[in-house]
Subunit: 209 residues, 2 copies
DNA sequence: AGTTTCGGAGAACAGTTGTTCACTGACGGA
DNA sequence: TCCGTCAGTGAACAACTGTTCTCCGAAACT
């Protein structure tokens, strides 16, 4: 019996996933540059040599994690896009969406926050490129909205990148807070909301004088 | 001859400085958690065992670097405070001051940006505490200014922390750009200026309706 | 069916790591 | 001047690292 032609590939991707998950688990308490190849395989329960069947080195594993993490982030972008509302309404809601996604994908967010300025150049560049793309897409979304009539392309981009940076900042703050302390979390979210309100005000008066 | 009573201590502090400088040099291309004790002593040119005369481990060296780095940052705070001007003028000028200090203390800024979310908990906490203090001091400065009459303590703090986060973000962006490309640098500074203008507008209308 | 492909095991390798130890020799107080 | 202090040495240690190699067995192809 059995010539179903996908068993091999499925098993391979299964241990690949196990490697990624193990790495993600270990990376909650350390940074990529200190993550050992043997450490990861030990966590998974396979031999060190098997690692090379999937990645050239831990750096390559890192870039794979970057792509995966930005997958989670794009879900966030779609969620924000889905809320059809005025510009200021969207801005306020984006804080809630951020908090929600941080709770959902803690490990991914932590990884991005940590490796954005981390010690592995290739990964750092990948993260940077990802955020740049994210900013571009957000800017395109904003440009399509009414309420940004009269805004220059550069100014929209500036605003989008500002949102991205603040999202990262609040996400990082949420990650630093204990995951089961809703009070600390609420304090952070509340501050983030006020930040967004201030930026909303700036946005409304951008074309004023 | 010789009974000048400070030679010993001076020599000790000299190699301590050498250790800190060597570490700072190495940390431009890697993160603290991957920094080896032997690596640092090799760079300085002393035996590995000598390291223990100064620090218990690389983590302790890290916290020492945190304090030192915040020394540079406080110079920045004083420079901004020195400029006696209106609130919006100060906000705009702070971008220039930031860029200036990043150019002056590249290694320190990079270290803080990297280890703020890095893999060594004790250092991460030290960096966080430092930024918190920095935010508090900035908030106190703002509160003393006219133009913040009617602002709640919390809102001033929110604004101060917002400045800090944005300063870190622009500093990180400047660090990512090549150090000898004034054009790329100018683009980043220009974006930062527009960000600040937008926040300035939000600030002006904070108490409006 | 027989044969090739390939993910994984296990052992071996040369290096490197952090930490300890007894030591040396210049400093610094008596 | 003598003597204690102490920053730095150099060797030794067990533990660990990344990488390479040959081999195995099950899946896939013909």
């Amino acid at each position: 019996m059995s010539h179903t032609p996908g068993v091999r590939q499925a098993q391979k991707q299964q241990t690949r996933r196990a490697l990624l998950d193990a790495a993600l688990r270990l990376l909650e308490h350390q940074s990529l540059s200190s993550l050992g190849l043997r450490e990861v395989t030990r966590e998974v329960g396979i031999s060190p040599a098997a690692f090379y069947r999937h990645f050239r080195d831990t750096g390559e594993l890192g870039t794979a994690l970057v792509e995966e993490s930005f997958g989670s982030l794009h879900g966030m972008l779609r969620a924000i896009r889905a809320e059809q509302a005025g510009p200021d309404e969207v801005i306020r809601r984006s804080v809630e969406v951020t908090a929600h996604y941080v709770r959902l994908h803690r490990a991914h967010f932590r990884f991005l926050a940590r490796e954005r300025h981390g010690g592995v150049r290739s990964v750092r560049n990948a993260v940077d490129a990802g955020f740049r793309l994210f900013g571009e897409e957000l800017a395109a979304d904003l440009a399509a909205q009414p309420g940004y009539r009269g805004w220059s392309r550069d100014d929209i981009r500036m605003l989008a990148d500002l949102f991205v940076d603040l999202m990262v900042a609040t996400a990082a703050a949420l990650l630093e807070a204990p995951p089961d302390d809703p009070q600390a979390e609420e304090r952070i979210v509340d501050t983030a909301r006020r930040r967004m309100r201030l930026i909303s005000l700036g946005r409304q008066h951008w074309l004023d004088p």
